[in-house]
Symmetry: C2
Subunit: 465 residues, 2 copies
């Protein structure tokens, strides 16, 4: 039986499971499910839109028999290729898994399906005075299932933590079609191994999440934003340290001087001429608490030798300040048509060292490099601008990336804070993890997915698999 | 070769690894390592006091060859038998692993060995303005390694979370002696599978923790305590819900009316006669923040129909209020010589239902039963008083315990919030977890420890292993 014939038979069987109207196989349709936030493109052989856990279970029984790859896809907004069918096979598009099954206000818990958009859940929770904290930049279109697969973070992680801190339990379809439940409905719970957090961040390689129990918090009802112009990057991170010793801001973002140079003439307000680093700080909570936190922060900043600072007491004013950060990426594309954006983390005291290193990288490789990110937790987005059609620039950018990763590890950091490994960083895994650690992870993968059908080609470097 | 001879040879080899002075084999010495907080007793065949990761690695190579059980022990304060050598073998006493290797004030991180006492770390951190939040009742003697093995909680978990929320990375010796590192030095990080949190709560069955990277927080410099006398348990949990919608108290403890009856005449202050439930509430933070939180809480309580409330603005006054809770256990032993204390969790709105159920249990089984615990997260300590020498009472207590667990599951709860499963709850595991989930956990156990030498007889029910 040739490949095409086999594919046809499998597609027939899939259609029996999910219904013919929930299978896509035309080239035009497949193209829509072939890319993600990385700009890579891998065509699947088919896309299925399952409607229930039972259907996914039956699909996995079939995949287990026929040994075809199954790659789960939320919104395709991932930044490391996690949802791409790099080995072909079937894409499971979770767009029909969008029910909010229960919101338990008394216990501050939500039970949702993985296709629910992060921002949609926020909107639904708001009138109830509740809040799901993790806030990736893509929150208006990314799905909660994808957030869990990559353990997404966001600016507010410095105060509220990342996705894994809000996942209490899961329903998961395993590689052979078995369905299990993990975790519990309560914040405390230590009954057997923590399978829940083993699935969080596993990028669709261990199982398919079909239901999520998540912890919620009371909605903060007020926030005040500060934009601080600093004389140097070390001054900025010094302030970050001192602020975190006395306050718990919701966000503590920074921009380096290259990023500032890109936007300084496009802002609706003036920046001090010598600004070498910007901090964007937000405190949140009840109106009384925010007022006090802001007073404390203002008092603190008044006693520091900063160039200047501005304060926004409402959302409209805050949005103006945030333009400084939001304008960076669009402005950068005036320099070069393409961007490599790396999500790395260093202990926050090491940020100045890493930023200096990126300045050296820019000089050495003759490419614009700018950084911004989450100064509060050391999570830095390093952006290398290039023209991918220019082969030399592409090589230089690759060299710069490798040097960056080596430096991050030297500074006791980690290669990914909130984007995962996917296929774009998998070859760098041995830079960070020892061979025995990787071996153990591979054994776990093999235990959960003996035929390597769940999102193959992700996390682990190819050459050893 | 008979058993005694073999034991002698193994003891010799162990002495070569750790030094003769770091091995104990006399009956008197073994007895000291045979019990824990459960009152059970299991004699090990030897106790070793290793001094380095390398020594533990070599011990595990030997254990892997000779197939003897290795049970790690911290302070032996566990409440479910986690540190007991139920199958004999070697106890690894971690008392020499007590170095605080590094405290990184700038990044609010500590690197410690697992034998460090929880309270000792707190004392060391205090003058630095830092703080390790998880606060089990045994914090003055329990070790951080034990806390991680059981994912310990404490009263402050409602605000600060449990042990797993503070463990960033680990060094672990595997069953065959390999040494791996997991996690990272930063709060964010998603590089490969979350092995760190797989080890947290795994009760010494997957590996031996030899080094811990932990997240710290700034030390709250003030706290105010409230004791609230409520008319009923539903009123108390109703207040808990409303308080958690507006404030984040550090503790939200409750006592039921049976517990109150035990202590009401022994307190240094009077309780309202009709008190049917007590809430102990603490808010913490900076002095300004605490003052505001306390004002908000007082204002809220003034508008509720509670019997009365008291407020303690300093530690001395607060200690008086806490006597209400601390006096309960000593007073209970006037009723019966023995206590079965179960650590269960239900969604916090279900607390009144569970407390009513325990009152029925007391009547039905004719034994005193009282409850107190962490109302904020639904983590309830149910205490059944009995005379273990009285066979009928022992049987009744066992029946009551079984009925309690069934009810907890019916209320969407979990069998253990912060004490783990150990050997005392392992036979109840199938009440909470599905057979496929247990099977997967057993497969993970088998992958990490193919010869079942790491803390055998724990977590999993015996009959199926």
């Amino acid at each position: 039986m040739d490949r095409d014939e086999k594919r046809k038979i499998i597609t027939e069987k899939l259609a029996e499971i999910v219904g013919r109207e929930h299978i896509a196989t035309s080239r035009e349709e497949l193209l829509s499910y072939s890319y993600d936030g990385t700009g890579q493109e891998f065509l699947p052989e088919a896309v299925a839109f399952p409607g229930s856990t039972d259907e996914i279970s039956r699909i996995m029984v079939l995949a287990d028999q026929e040994k075809f790859p199954v790659v789960v896809r939320g919104a395709g907004s991932g930044m490391t290729g996690g949802s791409l069918p790099v080995k072909g096979g079937l894409v499971l598009a979770m767009s029909r898994f969008k029910r909010i099954i229960e919101i338990d206000q008394a216990n501050q818990i939500a039970i949702v399906e993985p296709g629910v958009i992060n921002g949609h859940l926020r909107d639904v929770l708001k009138p109830m005075g509740l809040f799901y904290p993790p806030d990736p930049a893509s929150l208006n279109f990314c799905t909660l299932g994808g957030n869990i697969a990559e353990c997404a973070g966001g600016p507010s992680a410095v105060k509220y933590g990342v996705t894994r801190d809000y996942v209490l339990g899961l329903e998961v379809v395993l590689a052979d079609g078995r369905v299990i439940e993990t975790g519990c409905r309560t914040a405390k719970g230590v009954v057997g191994y923590d399978l829940t957090r083993l699935f969080v961040g596993s990028e669709g390689t261990l199982g398919i999440i079909t239901r999520i129990i998540m912890k919620l918090l009371p909605l903060p009802t007020a926030a005040i934003t500060f934009l601080v112009c600093c004389r140097s990057m070390p001054q900025a991170t010094g302030l970050v340290r001192l602020i975190l010793e006395q306050l718990q801001p919701r966000t503590l973002e920074f921009m380096d001087k290259t990023a500032i140079a890109l936007v300084k003439n496009r802002l609706p307000f003036a920046l001090s001429a010598e600004t070498a680093a910007i901090l964007l700080i937000e405190v949140d909570g009840s109106p009384v608490s925010v007022k006090n936190q802001a007073a404390q922060l203002a008092d603190f900043l008044d006693r520091q030798d900063v160039l200047s600072y501005q304060r926004a007491d409402n959302r409209t004013e805050a949005d103006l300040l945030w333009q400084a950060r939001r304008a960076v990426s669009p402005a950068a594309f005036a320099l070069r048509p393409d961007k490599i954006s790396e999500d790395v983390v260093v202990p926050r005291s090491k940020i100045p060292e890493l930023v200096t290193f990126t300045e050296e990288l820019a000089r050495k490789h003759n490419l614009p490099v700018f950084t911004f990110g989450h100064a509060g937790d050391g999570n830095i987005h390093v952006n290398i601008m290039l023209d991918k059609k220019n082969k030399d620039e592409l090589e230089q950018a690759e060299e710069a990336k490798k040097a960056l990763f080596r430096e991050v590890i030297r500074l006791s950091g980690t290669l990914s804070g909130e984007h995962g490994i996917g296929n774009t960083k998998s070859r760098f895994l041995p830079l960070e993890l020892g061979s025995e650690t990787i071996k153990l992870m591979r054994q776990i993968k093999k235990l959960f997915d003996p035929h390597d059908i769940l999102n193959p080609g992700k996390i682990f470097p190819e050459d050893q698999s």
